[in-house]
């Protein structure tokens, strides 16, 4: 088909011309969007049997606090006995149950990380059930967890994201930090890439949510790469204080330094002058 300039120019005042341009524009925008927009991490596929098995587990282990239908339980004075889990997504369940934070052993300012109560399959089933209630953050796909593949540039950018968004609570090497009223930002040592990712998308406990619009999945992977790098690299310079900073240095100075040198001073002070002695 050949369009001459003239043909176009004669039809440009056609009553439908505006509409055609609008449609073309929308198509182009949508096409660009679907091509370039940050993709949410790939959701896992669950079967109806997973959901049913998860529901059964939920009724036994979780419903006493979160309600029969995960709608949450409100106390008489309006408090929150267990929050609603509708819409928290599979990632939240996988994080909370997979790190042993849920079920909670006791009421506390914050659920601590502990040995998981449910095995991997049960955790998957619980996730399937909660994911079936309403859409929410999904468990991240493998490609965003392969932090070993991140290059130097990604590592540097991950570090920038980490220092800007995370170190204020989690410390510059992820050693953790204190928060008000007995709460704390837990250490990131020994936390799997998947759980770090899930924490970012779900914002468990005191943590803010870093959704895919704030930090893209690729950048999340870079952040994870930086965390893993600073924790896995050798401790240049000798025994470290676990990344806790100058407080530990102060303890070392006073106990080892001053303490040890006083020991030597006592040793030197206890020995008088030596001179050759001859038996008379």
């Amino acid at each position: 088909m050949r369009f001459s300039v003239r043909t176009l120019s004669t039809r440009r005042r056609h009553p439908l011309a505006g509409l055609v341009v609008l449609v073309l524009g929308l198509v182009a925008a949508a096409g660009l969007w679907s091509a370039l927009a940050p993709k949410p991490a790939q959701a896992e596929q669950y079967t109806a049997r997973d959901v049913e098995a998860g529901r059964e587990l939920f009724l036994i282990g979780c419903a006493s606090c979160h309600g029969q239908n995960a709608e949450g339980i409100t106390t008489k004075d309006g408090g929150n006995y267990g929050p609603s889990l509708i819409g928290v997504g599979a990632a939240a369940v996988d994080f909370q149950v997979g790190t042993g934070r849920m079920p909670m052993a006791q009421s506390a300012p914050q659920a601590p990380r502990k040995a998981p109560e449910y095995d991997a399959e049960e955790t998957r089933q619980l996730s399937a059930y909660i994911a079936s209630l309403a859409p929410g953050p999904a468990i991240p796909a493998e490609e965003y967890l392969n932090y070993q593949d991140v290059d130097v540039e990604g590592l540097r950018e991950g570090g920038e994201f980490f220092r800007t968004n995370c170190t204020a609570c989690h410390n510059s090497v992820g050693a953790g930090g204190a928060l008000p009223n007995g709460r704390y930002a837990p250490t990131l040592k020994g936390v799997s890439a998947k759980h770090i990712y899930e924490a970012m998308v779900t914002g468990p406990q005191q943590m803010p949510v870093f959704n895919d619009d704030l930090i893209t999945p690729e950048d999340k992977r870079n952040v994870i790469a930086y965390i893993k790098r600073v924790q896995e690299q050798p401790n240049y310079g000798g025994i470290g204080g676990g990344g806790l900073g100058p407080v530990v240095d102060g303890v070392f100075v006073w106990v080892l330094g001053i303490g040890g040198l006083i020991g030597f001073a006592i040793w030197i002070g206890a020995h008088g002058a030596r001179s050759k002695k001859k038996k008379a």
Partner: protein, 567 residues
């Protein structure tokens, strides 16, 4: 018997060889006269006299390692793109100061070791000065004629802290920048002039581009020069006053019993230098300090949990952390009491009290005499109590500076800790004072008991009527002397408020206050036994009637296995 024999140095092999060059030097410098007097100068011996030496030798280590670091450190805040060997930062924009610190740490042979030795030695330097100062305080060594030397010491401590802080800020990493921001806050909290002062020091808004070069100048030139000068003055005064000594047999206020500078102290002090150098080198080699790469370059919008100053500024940090958030606005200015009182006020209070103490104590005791014999801490119960109270105050502030680390490591609530510290900073020093003074008085009683009733021999005797008692034997005279060589307590008389005509005396009020403070100062202290009491006790202890066995003159108590020891 053995006798000590010495070979004159000029007859030794070394002496014969050295005679030529030494003679050459003496002909030109004429040092023999000065050296002859000073090389034989006598210093007393005690381990606690070496605390200041730790500080001195740490300072030498600091000079040596510091010179090494200046070869590569770039005190500039201009931005560069990092291309060194620490991979996570490659391509990152950072200041030249930070980049060169990373360069020293990762790309200069021995650079990280030198950096770590330098940092450990710095922390040790201030720590040793503080420990040395506590020794001086608790033994009363700052009394006349040494008040000026005490003031020089206080100045050295303050300068040491500033010097350490300047060094902490130089690498321009996230931690040091945060520390700089803290001090910026302290400066700005000074009423009225704060903002102007900040602009003057930083050359504009924080952080600007001037502060690192300026701190560098202060760190490697200005403050070290001042420190060196003050250290020289400190040592000259020490030689001029002669070193204080512990009381003991043969030791008086007018002599010094000890060993000569050469050869004994030259060897001991020289050896101790190598011990200190070895210690800092070992710590630098084995224990990580200030891993600048872990923090990242400074960016005013970033911060890391667990940001702390080095230990010597922890006190100041802690006071700011526990201060209630008081702030007021009037006269068109913001008055940041929340930072000014604990930050500037805390350090100001610490150094003011330290500087004034010798003069306050002299005013209270009215003691105008020279003192060259040290006072055992127990024999000045109020001073010792106040010292421990001061340490407790400092300790609470110090601990509060690490409240976040305490909270996370011991699973405590940081809010609860803040409340404990807020109350504790006022309460704990008082409790510490009362307990310490009681302990001192208890120890004084124990001394008195030993003098008047002898020491426990471990010999259990059974009397004819079947009761058991432990035999006591008199202390050796030298020991009795050591325990009683301090001054008798002064008589405390209420001052006259009026003269003989019933007219109020001009300084009646001050005298009354002074009398009250003085009574408090000596309250509860036990005076040493009088001569009559000691003689009476000697007679009593010498009685052998009723004891089955005569212990004899040379009895030295029994060993752990129950066998009597003798000379």
């Amino acid at each position: 018997m053995s006798t000590d024999t010495y070979t004159p140095v000029e007859d030794t092999g070394f002496g014969k060889k050295a005679a030529g060059p030494v003679g050459w030097l003496d002909d030109r410098l004429g040092l023999a006269g000065v050296a002859k007097k000073n090389l034989r100068k006598v210093f007393p011996e005690h381990w606690s006299f070496m605390l200041g030496e730790i500080a001195l030798w740490s300072f030498v280590v600091l000079l040596l390692t510091g010179v090494f670091l200046t070869f590569w450190f770039q005190p500039s805040m201009s931005e560069v793109v990092y291309d060194g060997s620490y991979a996570p930062f490659r391509g990152l924009e950072m200041s030249q100061a930070y980049a060169s610190t990373l360069h020293i740490s990762f790309d200069i042979r021995g650079g990280l070791l030198m950096r770590q030795i330098h940092h450990w030695a710095a922390a040790l330097f201030v720590g040793a000065m503080l420990a040395h100062m506590l020794r001086i305080f608790f033994t009363g060594a700052y009394r006349k004629p040494r008040e000026i030397n005490w003031l020089i010491g206080v100045g050295l401590l303050a300068l040491g802290m500033v010097e350490g802080f300047a060094g902490y800020s130089l690498p321009d990493d996230l931690l040091s920048g945060t520390g700089l921001r803290f001090v910026d806050g302290l400066i700005r909290s000074i009423p009225l002039v704060g903002s102007y002062l900040e602009f003057f020091i930083f050359g504009g808004e924080f952080p600007g581009e001037e502060i690192i070069p300026r701190l560098y100048m202060a760190h490697i030139l200005l403050i070290p020069a001042l420190l060196l000068g003050l250290i020289a003055a400190h040592m000259l005064l020490l030689v001029y006053h002669k070193h204080t000594q512990w009381p003991g047999a043969g030791r008086t206020n007018d002599n010094v019993v000890g060993y000569p500078m050469l050869p004994v102290y030259a060897a001991k002090a020289g050896g101790f230098f190598f011990v200190v150098f070895g210690f800092t080198a070992l710590m630098g080699a084995l224990v990580q300090i200030n891993p600048v790469w872990a923090y990242g370059p400074y960016n005013p919008s970033e911060v890391t949990a667990g940001s702390q100053p080095d230990w010597y500024m922890g006190f100041s940090e802690g006071l700011v952390r526990i201060m209630p958030n008081w702030e007021s606005t009037f006269l068109g200015h913001t008055w940041s009491w929340n930072v000014f009182i604990p930050g500037v006020g805390g350090l100001g209070l610490l150094f003011t009290v330290l500087a004034l103490w010798p003069f306050v104590e002299r005013w209270v005791t009215g003691d105008q005499r020279e003192h060259h014999l040290l006072e055992r801490p127990r024999n000045a119960p109020t001073r010792t109590g106040l010292g421990v109270a001061g340490m407790t105050f400092y300790g609470v502030g110090w601990a509060a500076g690490g409240n976040d680390i305490i909270a996370t490591q011991f699973h405590l609530s940081i809010n609860a800790l803040t409340h404990i510290f807020r109350i504790g900073i006022f309460l704990f020093p008082v409790i510490a004072f009362i307990i310490t003074r009681r302990i001192c008085i208890g120890l004084q009683r124990a001394d008195q008991n030993k003098i008047l009733h002898g020491y426990e021999t471990g010999v259990i005797e059974r009397s004819p009527d079947g009761s058991y008692a432990e035999r006591h034997a008199p202390l050796p005279v030298t020991e009795q002397y050591r325990l009683t060589a301090h001054d008798r307590l002064p008589a405390l008389e209420a001052p006259a408020e009026t003269d003989e005509n019933g007219v109020a005396l001009p300084h009646g009020r001050v005298a009354k206050v002074r009398h009250r403070v003085r009574s408090f100062y000596y309250k509860g202290a036990i005076d040493k036994p009088t001569l009559a009491e000691v003689e009476h006790a000697d007679e009593h202890l010498a009685e052998i009637e009723g004891h089955p066995v005569h212990l004899g003159e040379d009895f030295q108590g029994v060993s752990e296995t129950g066998i009597p020891k003798s000379h």
